[in-house]
């Protein structure tokens, strides 16, 4: 028995670092100089503007993809909204503001809806590489209506889980909130049971291969790693799953990947 607990202890230590980094709310240092981040943020802004996108879904790579489960490439997703911007010094301009769901710094099991700039969005990126979905013009109009209404906040659930199940409202991550807003726009409703019913019926989340023991022990490392909102298998909302859903239902104008030097279609 004593031996068993020794092994369990070793296992916890071995599992700890990778998972703790994965779902951490610790502040991350920028991986790139500010000038590179700003230039890339402007490149994405200008690209979106040149395509006439008033609102787009943009994803960033916050971690080395080789360390992520199969099927996950991007780690954070948000709406970019073309806006009239006024800064503190009175200067004005037109560009994009980013509508994020972030884990709170003090408690990783809670989230808040936070608006920031394109440069802020990429500051924590592992790689300057963005996934972009520009919705169909008609859907853009619907999304803008929801983003500028109380419905945007009413489909937010502050209970955060990294791998939240989009088919129920027990927990939520940034991509699931993005999906809720999308469904609220498509079905013209902020009724969560109806949104979840439609997600269950029409959206295919990304299955995540997760060992039973790791699944059991992960919440001991961080409560934000819980999977108790799932059944026998774990599946969550990802940028790729959103892109597939939108392509399948003819909801996207275009879907592509942009880096400092290239723009490629998925």
């Amino acid at each position: 028995m004593k031996r068993f607990f020794s092994y369990l202890f070793i296992m916890m230590i071995a599992l700890g670092p990778s998972i703790a980094q994965a779902g951490s709310t610790e502040a991350t240092k920028p991986n790139f100089p500010a000038a590179s981040i700003n230039a890339f943020a402007d490149r994405v802004q200008n690209d979106l503007a040149s395509r006439g996108a008033n609102i787009a879904i943009v994803a960033r790579k916050g971690r080395n993809p080789s360390t992520l489960p199969k099927g996950i490439e991007y780690t954070h997703v948000a709406y970019w909204v073309y806006s009239e911007i006024t800064n503190a010094d009175g200067s004005t301009g037109r560009g994009y503001r980013v509508y994020n769901l972030y884990q709170t710094s003090g408690d990783p099991t809670r989230s808040r809806l936070v608006q920031d700039s394109p440069a802020d969005f990429f500051t924590g990126a592992f790689r300057l590489d963005a996934g972009v979905i520009i919705p169909d013009k008609r859907l853009q109009q619907k999304l803008l209506k929801v983003v500028a209404s109380p419905a945007y906040s009413s489909v937010h659930n502050a209970s955060y889980s990294v791998l939240s199940n989009p088919e129920n409202n027990q927990f939520q991550n940034c991509t699931e909130h993005t999906l809720n807003v999308l469904m609220a726009s498509l079905y013209d409703t902020d009724n969560l049971p109806r949104i979840k019913a439609n997600i269950s019926a029409h959206f295919d989340p990304q299955p995540i291969r997760l060992g039973g023991l790791k699944r059991t022990l992960a919440p001991a490392t961080s409560k934000a790693l819980t999977t108790k909102d799932h059944g026998a298998t774990v599946a969550t909302t990802t940028f790729g799953a959103l892109a597939r859903f939108m392509e399948k239902n003819d909801l996207a104008q275009t879907t592509y990947r942009i880096t400092p030097s290239n723009v490629t279609r998925f």
């Binding site: 779902g23 608006q115 169909d136 013009k137």
Partner: protein, 110 residues
């Protein structure tokens, strides 16, 4: 025997496809105090107190778009450093009771 089993289980557990996706952690540049930032999410304009940025979504879709002036981050003003907290207006209790309702048809824009 028991020791071997436990060892094997340990190896099997650690060999499984690792880790989770990164959470939406806010980076250091956004670590500023949100408490002073009022949110008026119900309105089209969301104003943040200390971040001192007002952003009004342009809702007319279809016109020519350009990124100009203060919105260009390379101009040095875009990296706001603090986020505007939109959550405060929506601290609504979440109902996690499962209500079974019939779904609508597949989404369509036509």
């Amino acid at each position: 025997m028991k020791l071997r089993l436990v060892t094997l289980a340990t190896i099997a557990a650690l060999a499984v496809t690792p880790v989770f996706a990164q959470g939406s952690g806010q980076h250091s540049a956004q670590a500023a105090d949100h408490s002073g930032q009022a949110a008026s999410h119900g309105a089209a304009a969301v104003v943040s107190g200390t971040a001192a940025v007002a952003a009004v979504p342009i809702v007319v879709v279809g016109g020519a778009l350009a990124v100009t002036g203060a919105a260009l981050t390379s101009a040095g003003t875009g990296s706001v450093q603090t986020g505007a907290d939109l959550s405060e207006a929506a601290v609504v209790p979440q109902n996690t009771t499962i209500i079974v309702i019939e779904p609508d048809g597949a989404p369509t824009l036509d």
